[in-house]
Amino acid sequence: MSPWEKRERGGLYYTRSRKVNGRVVREYVGSGALGELAALTDAQERQRREEEAAAWREERECLEELAILVDELCEDVETVARATLLAAGFRQHNRGEWRRRRDQGTSIKE
């Protein structure tokens, strides 16, 4: 819906719409120079918000990419660490501490 409302007697009237308690409330700002100024201010504010949102999206995408790299790396390192422990004759007890397998000799005291 255009913020410029056409009046019956001619001319345009600038309005702002916003939500109050879930209902759209229309605020009548003015016509002529006042309306133009309000429209310009709103357009600038809109542009600022859009730029901020775009910057946020870009930052978020970049961070997501980095987070994926870190996740992947952490998982790979964990795999190598666990593989090394298993190869050295240890086993993980109940997803917790690592203990030497019985058939691998003496157990490691915690």
């Binding site: 870190v70 952490c74 190598v80 190869a87 240890f90």
Partner: protein, 205 residues
């Protein structure tokens, strides 16, 4: 690894200067060929499968796990290079327009931290785990810095704030998990420092 990140800084990653004698030459993850990346990925994936089986009490995968670790001494170093590559992008994002001075300070701090965590004469596994701790710490710093910066601007929406908080929590969990693994390895002692890059003579530290 995205094409965008890869193409930006092909020569930006410096490898370990203290790489022990006999270890494979440094690999720039951004410059790795598709085949090299696939081979690395395949090895890690296979290892993952075997580790999962072995974790359920199956002893059959153990010889193959030992074989992979023995035959792929470059695995740990490749992961360390990946970590450095990721670390580079974190620092780059953290300093942004702050200038080269801060970047150097941060690099020095990271290097000191890495050395302190890895300790004297670390095994390749300890180095790798230390690297992961440093990286996850760096991630926390990045996320917290961005959160604070966005909050101070006063433009953060509730949804954005929640998202950033969630991201920080995840980073903390990763960091704690990294610390826990290194602590476990240290607790178990030198018995576990076998196989991984075992042919290398560690001259560092």
């Amino acid at each position: 690894m995205t094409k965008e990140l890869a193409s930006k800084n092909k020569l930006a990653v410096r490898h370990y200067e203290d790489r022990p004698v006999g270890c494979p030459p440094g690999s720039d993850p951004a410059a790795m060929t598709k085949e090299e990346k696939e081979a690395h990925r395949d090895t890690v994936e296979r290892l993952k499968e075997l580790v999962e089986k072995a974790a359920k009490g199956d002893k059959k995968p153990l010889p193959e796990i030992r074989k992979i670790l023995k035959e792929s001494p470059e695995l740990a170093w490749q992961l360390m290079d990946f970590a450095k590559y990721t670390e580079y992008h974190h620092t780059k994002m953290m300093v942004k327009e702050e200038g080269p001075g801060l970047k150097e300070v941060l690099k020095a701090q990271i290097a000191a931290m890495r050395e302190e965590i890895a300790g004297d004469n670390p095994s390749p596994l300890e180095r790798l785990l230390a690297e992961r701790i440093v990286l996850t710490w760096l991630q926390i710093q990045l996320f917290e810095g961005l959160y604070a910066s966005n909050m101070s601007k006063g433009t953060t929406t509730i949804a954005q704030g929640k998202y950033e908080q969630k991201r920080i929590d995840q980073a903390y969990r990763r960091h704690l998990s990294a610390i826990r693994t290194l602590a476990q390895i240290r607790k178990l002692g030198p018995a576990v420092q076998i196989n991984i890059a075992e042919k290398q003579v560690n001259t560092a530290g």
